[in-house]
Symmetry: C2
Subunit: 339 residues, 2 copies
DNA sequence: ATAGAGAACGATACCGGTATCGTTACCGAT
DNA sequence: ATCGGTAACGATACCGGTATCGTTCTCTAT
């Protein structure tokens, strides 16, 4: 065990170089007021001592940190991953770095509280601005740049990037109806989340539009997980009049439908048509027809908007609506002749 | 635009509650020396004002932060994602939170420099310890708990969790040899990375062991990306004597082999056998036979080891070797009768 | 020669917390 | 009545940087 070496501070550098801390700080921040040879000497000492500045100390005094924060419920979710890819890309193109705060498990108790805590933690401490993904947190924050991707509530007090969940769901239904399906099951998302509610409404409205009565048995609960998708699919498929098609509120639960179908020895799409929502990476591999809501792009745009806010530039729009696109793969079958 | 509200500080809370900052701090940290009603009043003020403590300020003075840092090259990589899942799990079980630092793009210039910078940034500023994933950074760090997952160099000066890359590669080769393959192509990983080198050595040694001469044409370069896997696969498949099987240094490049095969209208496994390494999520969907090196578990164990280090508990081992397991799926075909 | 300007650098306050030590009030014991 | 002990709380130094202002020195213009 090596002796506990104290970390090198700016004081050490100043002493070693025979100058004041002020001068070292000036060199570190590229200010003009330093003679050429002094600067060289200080830089030499810095690299010799292996000095790196203390983020905490710096961010206390100076406003600008060139750092953006990201609060995400669960890093492991495919959904989060897609969004993060886009954020990553925007970060790589910018002068900012990224600090991700995660709470490990959304479902653990007090997660929302934690979430709020972290947002303000990042917010008034370390970062210039914060991106919140799929959350209701930070409703009380007013004093710093914040942007939400797919917020849980419809009209947050801060800017956001949202998918066109309603329109996307309607398109799915029109597609299934065109294929001749009339008994279409719907696996809900978490009811407290705005996007889940929008998709359900799209499902219902499209049926009404087509003159088909809504059968309550065909609408089953869910919480966006594969597990719940599996359970709900079983429920649907064991109905006396099971649906010919299932529309799951997201791809993760659609994957659960695949599991259930396999277990009941139903082939997709021959015996059952399935559509999801999100277009996560896995969807491609299982041939799931779904709605691409360009999650990565949402992350990308949100980051760019946040950077604008940090730089005190005006935003073109407070709410950026991201269009959706139906991605037709091999999980649906036509029951009628389609032109 | 709302007026720039100053963030609420401990001073504000103290003033509002009619006590000193010391007392507020005591309440925040759960110290005993506070009267019951005083505590209640302060807690009331805190929630009324929506106060949250400034991480930067706190971590400057107090040694313990209950926060672990993670430096990861690219959040979007399936490899990183798997490791992070395990870390996430360990974090959820612990009292620590996690701060992830990413630089967006490994391939952007100066990334290694950035990486080192971030490590020490987190290290001596914000976190109690740091996990480094797949990197050569932090060679110069000596003064704080650090652990590496799959480090780029063989013997880092700090503890690490490593896969048994050599053994895993040997097993793959023995498997392919048993299936009757003799012309086996190898797509390399990034040569500067220790694990890539170990896998290559496993490939060569297994061939030697089987008495098969090494054909240099069958060993092609790569850099762990799907793109390079695609290009290298084309190179192999256009050989005068193309291989009957390709062993890619990781799953990502194996995915590139799939692309190349599809383009050349070769069926897998009928016309070409493919094996990867890592067992990322995608591998399951395409039926890729690969080596599971339990990335998630590696992240989990590394986190637990780091927590021990932070708590000044002794480590059982400095280098935790994680065994590998061949996952047989549908991307390989037997050329001979196998008992 | 002297004033004024500007370059180069130092001294110090300050950011928002925590750690340490000091102070006050109140209690029972001598 | 005086004292010692303890509970409750306040005052202040300090963490490691940056921002601000002041100081010193040189050089040029008058």
């Amino acid at each position: 065990m090596p002796t506990k070496k104290r970390t090198v501070t700016i004081q050490d550098v100043a002493k070693k170089a025979g100058v004041s801390v002020s001068t070292v700080s000036r060199v570190l921040n590229g200010k003009a007021d330093v003679a050429g040879d002094t600067q060289e000497k200080i830089l030499g000492v810095i690299s010799k001592l292996g000095y790196t500045s203390n983020l905490a100390a710096r961010s206390m005094r100076s406003r600008r940190k060139d750092l953006l924060g990201l609060v995400v419920p669960d890093i492991g979710f495919p959904y989060s991953i897609e969004v993060m890819k886009g954020i990553n890309r925007a970060i790589a193109e910018s002068t900012f770095d990224l600090l991700v705060y995660t709470m490990g498990d959304v479902h653990k108790s007090g997660a929302v509280l934690h979430e709020q805590h972290y947002v303000s933690l990042l917010n008034n401490s370390l970062t210039d601005g914060v991106i919140i993904v799929a959350s209701a947190a930070a409703e009380f924050i007013t004093d710093a740049p914040i942007i939400a991707v797919d917020p849980h509530i419809v009209n947050p007090r801060y800017p956001s990037v949202q998918g066109t969940n309603y329109q996307g769901a309607v398109e799915v239904m029109q597609y299934l109806l065109k294929l001749g399906h009339e008994r279409i099951g719907f696996i809900c998302g978490r009811p407290e989340i705005a996007s889940a509610e929008r998709r359900l409404k799209g499902y219902k409205d499209a049926l009404k539009e087509a003159g088909i009565a809504i059968d309550k048995d065909l609408i089953v609960p869910g919480d966006f997980t594969t597990k719940s998708g599996y359970a709900s699919a079983l429920q649907l498929l064991n109905l006396k009049h099971p649906p010919t098609a299932i529309f799951a509120a997201n791809d993760q639960s659609a994957l659960g439908v695949f599991q259930a179908a396999q277990e009941m020895e139903l082939r997709i799409p021959e015996d059952l048509s399935v559509v999801g929502f999100d277009n996560i990476a896995e969807a491609k591999y299982v041939g799931l027809t779904t709605v691409d809501q360009f999650l990565s792009e949402m992350g990308y745009i949100a980051t760019q908007m946040l950077i604008k806010m940090v730089n005190h530039q005006p935003l073109d729009v407070q709410v950026h609506k991201m269009p959706t696109r139906l991605v037709e793969r091999t999980s649906c079958r036509a029951l009628v002749q389609v032109n």
